[in-house]
Symmetry: C2
Subunit: 456 residues, 2 copies
């Protein structure tokens, strides 16, 4: 009997993160200072980030050693299993072989602790006592709460209002790890108060919550900011996912995947899986990398590649990325972790140079896919992860039509145990699909800063 679950020994946890910057075909456009348009002086980040993370943000080396304290904490759950989705294959009747990297086995239930642990460690090392952050679906807030509990740091989480209301149990999970949580926009920051003054019932967005957490860090002693996605150092930490996966595919005597799929909000789980495969993709044009996003927040499929702010209050440096505009307010879809106006610069760059495909889905078809997965493989996916699953099913059905025995790999970025309220709405028939009319998108894009788009 062949193993469907491919486990590694803990000695096989990578001892270095992989930095894709070293293997890009061109140069990543640098972050820029919004005041003068010049490439950002890294020291500008030192008010909210520790030096080590700033170095990683700018790093050009291919490999970055993982500190032993981080490895020791990874060992609470890593390596995560690579799983052959045999039951789903059989249900679909596809000749494709489907594999998923199960990042849901982490204490917080997603891939997010891979970077949360590293960030908590480097901040602790720098003498920081408290971290402030934002969270959308709650996966990132949970991860940082867990990581802070491991390194003895205080943790303040600004949770996007719509998720705060939809997912009360996420809040209590964070509290179980000792964090302090508030709904965003909140009255705890100037950014939050200004938005509430205009719109007291604002359902919030990741962009707003980022503004609040950055302000909190900049205005509190011994407090830094921590971001769960988008930035280079965050994506770097996530590459343990793809590095382990390559070892596991080899262990299963499997060829390199024909298509690699991840959902994409800020881009970190997609990046974590695909970046270690970028050198393979450069050797083999036919290998496909695919990012999946909600139709309601389609930065990769409908957003231009432009310099834009990472947050709503325009406090971050300008980043070259696929963006819907920093004031874009996504509809309240249940995949809260995908409600971000922009996309990680590294992921955006891969898309910009044509190495990354992208696809957008409506949430009802995404929940159809989630329930099919739960009833075949057993595990209940997070709504974010279900976007990837929808694309996987479409690819597997394409293989069924063509008869091709392709290998489809995807990142099972998180479980849906804290998303049952969304499933309830789905079963009650109360889930809404949201269109994004072109004129709404163009209004949001009209507010983009006047900064030349980087050339290809």
């Amino acid at each position: 009997m062949q193993d469907y679950i491919i486990n590694l020994s803990q000695r096989d946890i990578p001892n270095a993160w992989y930095n894709v910057v070293a293997d890009l075909p061109g140069s990543l456009p640098p972050p820029r200072n919004p005041a003068n348009g010049e490439p950002l002086d890294p020291s500008a980040l030192s008010r909210i980030f520790p030096q080590k993370l700033i170095e990683q943000e700018m790093c050009m080396d291919r490999w970055v050693d993982i500190p032993s304290e981080v490895l020791e904490t990874y060992m609470l759950w890593r390596p995560s299993p690579l799983v052959r989705a045999k039951a789903l294959e059989e249900y679909l009747g596809t000749p494709a072989r489907i594999y998923f990297k199960n990042e849901a086995v982490s204490p917080a239930g997603s891939h997010k602790p891979n970077t949360a642990v590293a960030q908590a460690y480097y901040n602790k090392l720098a003498g920081v006592e408290r971290l402030a952050t934002e969270t959308g679906a709650g996966q990132w807030g949970s991860a940082l709460s867990f990581a802070c509990s491991k390194f003895g740091l205080k943790c303040k989480v600004y949770m996007v209002r719509v998720s705060y209301d939809q997912k009360p149990y996420r809040r209590i999970l964070m509290k179980t790890w000792g964090a302090d949580i508030v709904a965003s926009p909140s009255c705890d920051t100037n950014a939050g108060r200004a938005i509430l003054a205009n719109d007291p019932t604002c359902s919030g967005s990741l962009g707003i919550a980022i503004s609040e957490a950055v302000e909190d860090a900049a205005t509190h002693d011994h407090t830094n900011y921590s971001l769960g996605s988008v930035l280079n150092h965050v994506l770097l930490h996530q590459t343990v996912i793809g590095l382990e996966t390559k070892k596991q595919l080899a262990l299963a005597d499997e060829k390199l995947p024909d298509v690699i799929i991840g959902c994409a909000g800020g881009g970190s789980n997609l990046a974590g899986l695909i970046f270690p495969f970028v050198p393979d993709k450069r050797k083999n044009e036919k290998m496909r990398l695919l990012g999946v996003e909600p139709s309601a927040c389609p930065s990769l499929t409908r957003g231009p590649y432009r310099y834009d702010f990472g947050d709503t209050a325009c406090t971050t440096p300008l980043l070259a990325m696929h963006t819907l505009g920093h004031n874009f307010m996504p509809s309240p879809i249940h995949a809260g972790g995908l409600r971000y106006h922009g996309m990680a610069p590294l992921v955006s760059y891969l898309r910009h140079i044509g190495m990354l495909e992208a696809k957008a889905y409506q949430q009802k078809e995404v929940f159809d896919a989630a329930v099919m997965f739960a009833r075949t493989q057993g595990i209940v996916p997070a709504p974010e992860t279900a976007h990837a699953i929808k694309a996987v099913i479409d690819e597997a059905l394409r293989c069924k039509q063509t008869g091709k025995e392709e290998v489809i790999l995807f990142n099972f970025s998180g479980h849906g145990h804290f998303d049952m309220g969304s499933y309830e709405k789905y079963f009650e028939g109360n889930l809404t699909d949201y269109d994004l009319p072109q004129e709404v998108l163009e209004r949001a894009l009209a507010q983009l800063p006047d900064m030349p788009a980087p050339a290809k």
Copy 2:
């Protein structure tokens, strides 16, 4: 670096369940017919169970082959990891080495699918189309819903009212796997209607829910009953837990445990872990087996060993067990899975002959232990599992005092992702400890059937 997570290959999933009956020092008292007190004619069970499960209930063979269809489904998540709780050890400063078998990795989040999958399979094989069952905390109902979705059976779950109200997301989880759920006592059965007539706000109990599910099975075509604990065949299916653990301890070059711990409601997760160690216990008197229960429902520590009904409506055969009386109504503690008046006959027998120790805890100290575990090992335990953890911590602290390097093994029977409402009450200071006054217990015991207690 030593591995803290000990994984087996899927080829190491046991291909036979272990039947402890073959290795008991005496004979297990048989179930009896309440009408005449005679040992039960197995055919009396055929109205609600398939023949294969009745055979397993009465089986004397040491090993029972696991069908390949069951193994194939086990492979969705098994073997479960054995984990060295190094972070908890370090936090406690104990010389003990603590291991836990992580059964929370199953799709339903607990050990329960081990038997749910087997039961669904044998019922499907017998041409049954629908299963009825009860659930306390919701773990068993989730497991059977999942198993029925895998084998194409309909599933009706009678969920104890107090859990139904406390854990709305458990219901939706079951619905995700396609089950039909109702709060018990319900209006769907005579048993439920009779109880509601007396007490319209009755918070329910496992005993009542069992009565309803048994009646449902007996009065519907092509419908069988399925029980999540207590019976011999259920405990048999759970022995994959201990069998895998023995292989994993050997792989870690670890000695046999000094003490093996599990929480005990009906007794199935405790049994699954400890039964395969019973032959070792018989060779080595010093090895300790420990069942942990809530002070509010202390069948092992305060209930006599007597013949009693398995349910409240007195519809089951009489079982020899530690019991608080079939009419005992436990206080509404948050460990809903431990709110059962009796205890599995096999577990009760081990207790009766002195092979099993037992300990009871109040729920506040149990949640203290749960939060300590979450903040060290990361994983958030179910309230039931937290009972075992409280005992583990006490044993580890005893080792700290004595300086003994003992090996402590426990069953991490389930995660707490659907118990966040209980954690919220704990953090708010709204968790109540419940005493069980001796006179209340004696009133419940006065209703025990007049059946001689089996001799030792």
